[in-house]
Symmetry: C3
Subunit: 398 residues, 3 copies
C-alpha cells in the first residue's frame, strides 16, 4: 500500500474484500465492516493513482453532486467539488444561511427537490450535538422514499462531510495517511496513537473529528489513548464503542486527563481542540429555541473554559515525550498555531512547520476518499468498474 503499488495489485486487493451490502450512504465508519473500510481506502488510492497518471476516471456522463453546507467550509467544499469533477459530476451548491434547523417535511421536500438528477448529496452539519447525524439520516430517508415511490429515477448517495458524531471523510483520510507513512495497515497494529484535546482561543469546535478518530482507529488493533481535561468528554456512545472495538481488534482504548502522560512513548499524535461537552449540549437547545444572545454567551463561556488549559499545546517539550521524540503529528487543519495565528493555540509553530509537508499530504487524501465513497455507494462491483476504466484507457491486462 504505497504510492508505487501497481494498479494490478491494488485492484486485485480490492477484489478480495467482502463489500456486499455496502449500502447507499456513507454516514459513519462504524456502520461499515472492516473490509468495506479497507475497500474504500483502496478505491481512494486507485483513484489518486489514476489522477496522477492522467487517466480520466469519469464514471458519469452527466448528473449532479449537491454540496449541502449548513456550516461554513472552504476545504471540505473544495474536496467534494474535486471528487465530483473527477468522476464527471457537476456540482450544485446549496448553502443554508438560516440558522434554524429545518426538519421533517421541510427537509424531506428540499431533499427531494434537489435530487431529480442527482447522484450524490454531500452534507456538512456539525455544529449542534444531536442534530447533524439526525438530519443526514432524514435526508437519506427522504431520498430513499422518493426512490421507492418512483419520484426519483436514482437513489442519490448521502455522504457525511462532517456531522456532530462522525467525520468519516477525515478519519479515513487520516487512516490512509497512516497506512502510507507506516507502510501498510497491518503495521499499525499495536502502535500507540494519542487523540488529544488541545487549547483553542478561536471557537467551540465540533467533537466529531476526535470521535471519528477513536471510533475508527480502535478497529485496527492500535493502542488508542484519548486525552482531554475533565469536562471535555466525547459522546458516551462513541467512547463505549471505541472500547468495545479495541477489545475485538486486539488493541486497547484508554482515557486519560493528562497530556504529558498520554504522550509518553506515543508513535502517533493527533492533537486538536473541541468544545466542552455540557456547553456543546446547551448550544443545541439554545439554537432550537432561536436564542442567539444565549448562543453568543455560551460561545464566550467555552473560550473562557478553554483558557484554563493553555498548557494543552502540542509543544516541542510535549513531543519529546513521544517515542524517540519523533511521533508522527496529525491535524485535520486549519490549526491554531501559537505565535502564528494566535498567541497560544493547539500546536507550537516549530512543531507545525516540521510536520507541514506530512499534514498537507494527509489533507490531500480527502478528495479521493470522497470520490471512493461515491464509487462504493454507486457500484456493486467497484473492482470491475475500475478495470473497465483502465481497459478503456489501454492499461490492458489488469
Amino acid at each position: 500500500m504505497t504510492a508505487m503499488t501497481s494498479f494490478r495489485t491494488l485492484v486485485r486487493d480490492l477484489s478480495r474484500l467482502d463489500i456486499r451490502n455496502f449500502g447507499t450512504d456513507f454516514i459513519s465508519t462504524w456502520d461499515k465492516t472492516r473490509d468495506q473500510l479497507e475497500a474504500t481506502m483502496l478505491a481512494a488510492q486507485i483513484l489518486q493513482k489514476l489522477q496522477r497518471d492522467k487517466i480520466p476516471a469519469k464514471l458519469f456522463d452527466s448528473g449532479l453532486a449537491v454540496s449541502w453546507f449548513r456550516d461554513q467550509s472552504t476545504r471540505t467544499r473544495y474536496s467534494f467539488r474535486a471528487a465530483a469533477d473527477l468522476l464527471g459530476l457537476g456540482v450544485e451548491d446549496f448553502d443554508e444561511r438560516e440558522s434554524q434547523i429545518a426538519h421533517g417535511e421541510t427537509a424531506r421536500e428540499t431533499a427531494t427537490m434537489l435530487s431529480y438528477l442527482t447522484q450524490v448529496i454531500g452534507i456538512r452539519d456539525d455544529k449542534y450535538l444531536g442534530e447533524g447525524e439526525r438530519f443526514q439520516e432524514e435526508v437519506a430517508d427522504a431520498v430513499q422514499a422518493g426512490y421507492e415511490e418512483g419520484v426519483l429515477p436514482q437513489r442519490p448517495s448521502i455522504i457525511n462531510l462532517q456531522n456532530d458524531q462522525d467525520h468519516p471523510t477525515q478519519s479515513l483520510s487520516d487512516l490512509l495517511h497512516l497506512a502510507t507513512e507506516f507502510d501498510g495497515l497491518k503495521r499499525l497494529k499495536g502502535m500507540k496513537i494519542v487523540m488529544s484535546w488541545a487549547h483553542s482561543p478561536s471557537y467551540g469546535k465540533p467533537l466529531s473529528v476526535a470521535q471519528g478518530v477513536v471510533g475508527l482507529m480502535t478497529r485496527f488493533g492500535m493502542q488508542v489513548v484519548l486525552a482531554h481535561p475533565k469536562g471535555y468528554e466525547l459522546s458516551p456512545a462513541v467512547t463505549r464503542l471505541a472500547a468495545k472495538q479495541a477489545r475485538r481488534s486486539g488493541g486497547s482504548f484508554k482515557i486519560v486527563h493528562d497530556m504529558k502522560e498520554a504522550f509518553e512513548g506515543a508513535q502517533i499524535i493527533y492533537s486538536k481542540s473541541w468544545g466542552p461537552y455540557a456547553l456543546m449540549k446547551r448550544r443545541t437547545s439554545l439554537n432550537r429555541s432561536g436564542d442567539s444572545a444565549g448562543l453568543k454567551r455560551v460561545e464566550r463561556m467555552m473560550l473562557s473554559q478553554n483558557s484554563k488549559y493553555k498548557n494543552w499545546e502540542c509543544s516541542e517539550a510535549m513531543l519529546k515525550r513521544t517515542k524517540n521524540g519523533r511521533a508522527l503529528y496529525l491535524h485535520c487543519l486549519p490549526a491554531d498555531i501559537s505565535g502564528l495565528n494566535c498567541r497560544t493555540g493547539e500546536v507550537s509553530r516549530s512543531v507545525f512547520e516540521r510536520y507541514r509537508r506530512q499534514l498537507y499530504l494527509q489533507a490531500g487524501y480527502k478528495p479521493f476518499i470522497i470520490a471512493a465513497m461515491i464509487l462504493m455507494t454507486k457500484y456493486e462491483k467497484p473492482d470491475q468498474t475500475i478495470r473497465a476504466v483502465l481497459r478503456k484507457n489501454k492499461r490492458g491486462n489488469i
Copy 2:
C-alpha cells in the same frame, strides 16, 4: 404519452408537429403555437426517458448556461442547473443582490458581457408587476443586437424562469403532469380545472403562477375556473387572453369569488396564494423610487389583507366538493401547509400529505421542460437531433 411510450413513438410524434419559427427565446407560453407547446412537452418526455435509460444527452461539447436570479430560489435554480448539466453546459451563477432594477444600457451591457460563450440565459425576475417580463425582453433584445452586430458568435436563448406575467417552466411541467396522470393531452379536453387563490401568512407572492396556468390550460379545451376573493384579480391582459383562448379551444373560462362554488365537481384543483393586485402594483412604484420602508409597509398590508380570507384553504371539507371528492391537487411548491410550517395556510396537512407523491412527480418535470426549451430554441429539427443521440448510443432503427 405515458412513461412506457417508446422512443420511436415519441420521436415520431415530435416529427409530426409544426414547429417552424419556434423562436430563440421562451418567455411566455402564449407566444408559442399549440404545436410548439406540445413539441416542448414531447421533447421533455424524451429527455426524461433518456436520463432514466442512462443515455447521455450531451448536445453541447462546451459552453455556458447563465443562471441570472433577481429573486431568491432554490428549486428553480437547481432545475436550471440540472437541465444545463444534462445537455453538457457549465453554469455561471449571477445573483443580483441590489434591489434597484437596472434597465436600458446597464442591462444591455451586462447581458452582453455574460454572453460571449453562452448558449442560454435563464432569468428569474418575478417580484414587480410590469418589470420582470420587460427586463427579460430587454436582455433578449441586447443579445440579439450583439449577435447581429457580430459581437456574439452565437445567440444565447433567453428562458423565462418566472417573471411577473408568466411562469412557463412551471405551467408546462403542470400540463405534462396532467397529461401523464390522465393518460394524454386529449383526455384533458372538457375537464374542469380550478385555479384558486389560497390564504398565505408568509409573503405577497407573485401572480405569475396563476396567470401561467389560466393562460395555458384554456388552450387545451378545459373548463377553467379562476377563483379568488375580490381584490386579488390577475392581470386583465391575461384574463382576457384566457377567455379568448377558451372560446377557440372549445373550453370555457369563468371567474368566481367563492372557493366552495369553484370546487364543485372539479377534477383538478390548483390552489395557491398570490398578492392583492393594487398592492402588487404599488410595490413596483415603491421599488422604482427605492422606498424600502414603503415596501415593508406594503408587505404588512398584504399579509393583513390576506388574513381576511383564512377560509380560502384547500381543506378536506373543501376537497369533498370536487368530483367524487377526488380531484387531483396541484401546487408549484413550496406550500404553506396548515399546522406544519404555519398556523393557517394554503392547504391542510392531510390533503398535502395525501397528494405528496404526485406533487413531487409534478415538480420533477421541470428540469426536463427547461432542457426541452433549450433544445427547441437551439435546434431547428429537434427530432433529428434526438435521433442522432439515439444512433450514437446504438438505439438504432429510430
Copy 3:
C-alpha cells in the same frame, strides 16, 4: 491577424515564436518576452476561432480551475469561468469576504488546500497598493513548494485577474483588439495612444488598468502619452519601466497634465478613472490596521478630490482634437457614462454609444486571452497541442 486568417497561418505563426521558459504563471506582462506576449495573443485568436467554428478545445478531461476573488467582479469572473469551461475544467469559486489580508502561512495553507486537483488558480486582488501582486506571488510560491515537495501532483498556474500593479488579461485583450482593428501588431508602431485619467463620481478605482496599458503598449513602438491631473500619478516603477521600454521599442512615452493637449492628434484614446496615489497608499495602511472608519473617510476624500476634475471627460469636443476627430476609443468597462449612470463621468453618452460595438468586441477577447494564458502555462508546445486538437476534429493537413 484578422478574423479570416486560417488555422494553418495562425498555428504556423505561433510555431515561429520563441516561447521557451514561458513560466508557470502569468502575473505581469513585463515578466514575459515580446514573443511570449505575441504567442499568447495568437493562441487566444486560435481558441476564439475554434469556438466560432464549433471545434471543441477541451484540453483537460477533468480538473479544477479555482476562481479566487478578493474583490467583487462580474465580468472577469464570467471570463474566467468561460475560459475554464472551454478547456474542460470545472470551476470552484472561492470568495473571500473578510477584508483583512491573510499572508504567510495562512495564504500558503489555503493555496495548497485548494490545489490538490487544480490546474489553474485565477486571482483578483486589486484594491490595495502593495498587496495584490505580493499576494499572488505568495500563492505562486506556495503551490510551487507544494509541487516540489510532492504534495501536489501538478503545479497549478497562477493567473493574475487584476492585482494592484498590472491587469494583463485586460491589457492583452486591449492590444489584441487594437491589432485586429488596425490590421496587425506591426501597424501599431508609431501610432499615438493616450492613456488618460477621467473623472469618476463612483469610487476610488485601482491603478492597474492604466499601469497595464502603459506597461504593455510601450513595448510595441507606439507613441504612448499618459495624461492625468497632478496627484494621480501611477506607480513610479511602472512609469520608469514604460519609459525604458519605449526607448527600446522605438516608440516614446510622455506624461502630461492636460487632457486637451494629450488628445491632440491621437489615434487611440483609453480614458478611465483611477484613485489619487497618496490616498491609495493611505488606504493600504488603513486596511492593514483594520480601520474601517478611516477607509470610509479616505473613500470620501478620493471622490472629493476627483470632483475637482470634472472636465476630464471624454466628450465629443475632446474627441474632436484627435486625428481626424476619429480616434479609436477604448475602455475596460463598466464606464461611468455622463447622463446615463451618473451626472458627470468618464465619458459622454454619445461618445460611448458610438463606440459601443467596438467596446463589446474589446471585452470579448478576455475569455480567450485567459484560456490562452492557461494553454501557454500548461503546455510547452502549444502549437502541437492545437494541431492535435485540429487533427482530432479532422481539420487535417495543418
